[in-house]
């Protein structure tokens, strides 16, 4: 049984099929990267998994059980944490408060316990420790990305969905973010990563899928994807894709 399985999932926005029959699996302990250009349906796929959009057809199984039609609050309680595109750090709450709220899916925790766990997060993200009491909106994009990932990890998820963590960040910050993803993987959390930056996305992945206008066109290990000439030219074309 796979940890997460999508079966012919279709998502429509009005008349447009943003996701057109995607099937994919993520096994426990894997890092899987979903590649594709802008508008290929990557974010929509993640939004369908976390319950933000309702698929028109198909099924989504988590640990063998369908989570289709559950509200986002219920899905995260089952262990799927979604760090959405644009980081979505609460602008008017402090960094520590943002991170603490990441534990909202786990019931029966005392505030002191959550605070302790949030402070431990700063060991994994030392760069944001000194901003613990700063309001979310005062942080730079890279710092907000760290907060968003830390907040996602506070859910103690079985699987972490990461949407474009490199978007809009300077190359040196992208390196730092991916170093953290590698560390998350080392600690045994399963990750489904969405990226336009193919080079970075595949560098941490066990397997990858390539999406094109709502359909999966290719899947395989990073080496297999790299060796496909057509794909390499279209999506993995080094510097231009990384821009």
């Amino acid at each position: 049984m796979s940890l997460l399985e999508l079966k012919s999932v279709v998502v429509r926005y009005g008349e447009v099929e943003a996701v057109d029959g995607i099937s994919l699996v993520v096994e426990a302990g894997e890092v899987v990267t979903l590649l594709g250009s802008n508008g290929a349906g990557k974010s929509t796929t993640l939004r369908a998994i976390s319950g933000l959009v309702k698929p028109a057809s198909g099924d989504i199984l988590f640990e063998g059980q369908s989570i289709l039609g559950l509200r986002p609050e219920e899905i995260v309680r089952r262990g799927i944490a979604h760090v959405p595109e644009g980081r979505r750090v609460f602008p008017g709450l402090s960094v520590r408060e943002n991170i603490m709220l990441g534990a909202s899916n786990r019931s029966g925790l005392r505030k002191a316990q959550i605070r302790r766990e949030a402070d431990e997060m700063f060991d994994l993200f030392p760069d944001i420790r000194r901003f613990a009491d700063a309001l979310g909106w005062t942080l730079s994009g890279g710092q907000q990305q760290m907060v968003a990932v830390a907040r996602g990890l506070m859910a103690k998820p079985r699987i972490l969905l990461l949407d474009e963590p490199s978007l809009g960040l300077a190359p040196v910050i992208v390196q730092a973010v991916f170093a953290i993803i590698a560390e998350i993987r080392r600690r045994g959390t399963t990750v489904l990563l969405v990226e336009q930056n193919a080079r970075m996305g595949l560098s941490v992945a066990d397997r990858g899928y390539v999406l094109e206008t709502g359909k999966l066109v290719l899947s395989g290990t990073p080496d297999q994807l790299w060796s496909n000439e057509e794909i390499r030219a279209a999506y993995l074309g080094g510097r231009t894709a990384a821009a």
């Binding site: 509200r71 609050e73 505030k111």
Partner: protein, 291 residues
């Protein structure tokens, strides 16, 4: 100088009522991104409930007060389910129209049940007031100021020092993200409506002995409170309080030194000046638009 102190006291007293109603505006606005135009009716309904329980039925004042507030909590919950919840996925416009409709509905339902004649509600205390130095302290105004200060302090503590307060803030800042973290958004919004109806009710009951209890009192208070929120900076809790107090003081001084009939005019003159010269209000700009 004595007159100035006396006017300051009265102004802060009436301003406290505006501040309480303005708080209700701000809390619902932050949770739903919509101005609740029925906020003033919460005050009006609570004042009438108080008249029914205290004057007509003859319950002790504090018992009537508690029962009225329990009814207000119920009204807040029903209001949320009937007026906001069915439209929660729509844009702000249908929701605003829905609250305007609810405001008309509540006012006219009260009119149909009770009739148009205004009622008089006595104050909490048997004695009218006391002198302290040169200033006469009206007991009801003292009560209004003390209760407002306590509620503001309690609310500050709740939002800044409890996890539930943080979850309410998170919900008001980004509902979708709050849901992704497992925060029950619908419950958070329900809490906001219930609380706003209750503080609107407290404001109405406190101010009732100073004014008459009438169908139109809700609209009058709400208009001032709305002006207060704009002066303070919309969506800002501190702004609502400062704006409410400022408005109370300005209209009291305006009435005393310039003209009594134009009392309401001063408040709106200040509002217009703010809309022209500082539309974001005193505390605008503190939090940037979506980071």
């Amino acid at each position: 100088m004595d007159l100035v102190l006396q006017l300051l006291f009265t102004g802060i007293g009436i301003g406290s009522v505006y501040a309480l109603v303005a708080l209700g505006f701000v809390l619902i606005f932050r949770a739903t991104n919509v101005v609740n135009f029925a906020q003033g009716e919460f005050s009006m309904v609570a004042a009438f409930l108080m008249v029914v329980f205290s004057v007509k039925i003859g319950l002790p004042y504090w018992v009537a007060f508690i029962i009225a507030l329990i009814c207000m909590a119920g009204l807040g919950a029903v209001f949320n389910l009937a007026v906001y919840y069915p439209l929660r996925h729509r844009t702000y416009l249908p929701v605003i129209i829905s609250t305007i409709g609810a405001s008309i509905f509540i006012a006219n339902t009260t009119l149909a049940i009770h009739g148009p004649e205004p009622e008089v509600l006595s104050g909490w205390f048997d004695t009218p007031g006391f002198m302290l130095g040169p200033v006469y302290f009206d007991n009801q105004y003292v009560l209004i100021i003390v209760v407002t200060a306590l509620l503001v302090a309690l609310q500050y503590w709740f939002f800044e020092h409890t996890l539930l307060g943080k979850k309410l803030q998170a919900t008001s800042q980004d509902k979708e993200m709050a849901a992704l973290l497992g925060i029950p958004v619908a419950v958070m919004i329900m809490i906001t409506f219930v609380y706003s109806a209750v503080i609107g009710g407290i404001a109405g009951i406190l101010v009732a002995p100073v004014l008459f209890v009438s169908i139109g009192m809700g609209a009058t208070i709400a208009l001032k409170a709305f002006a207060a929120t704009i002066i303070g900076g919309f969506g800002e809790v501190t702004g609502a309080i400062i704006g409410g107090l400022a408005l109370g003081v300005i209209e009291t001084f305006g009435a005393a030194y310039i003209s009594v009939p134009y009392k309401d005019g001063f408040a709106f003159l200040v509002l217009i000046a703010f809309l022209i010269f500082r539309p974001q209000g005193i505390f605008g700009e503190r939090v940037a638009e979506k980071a």
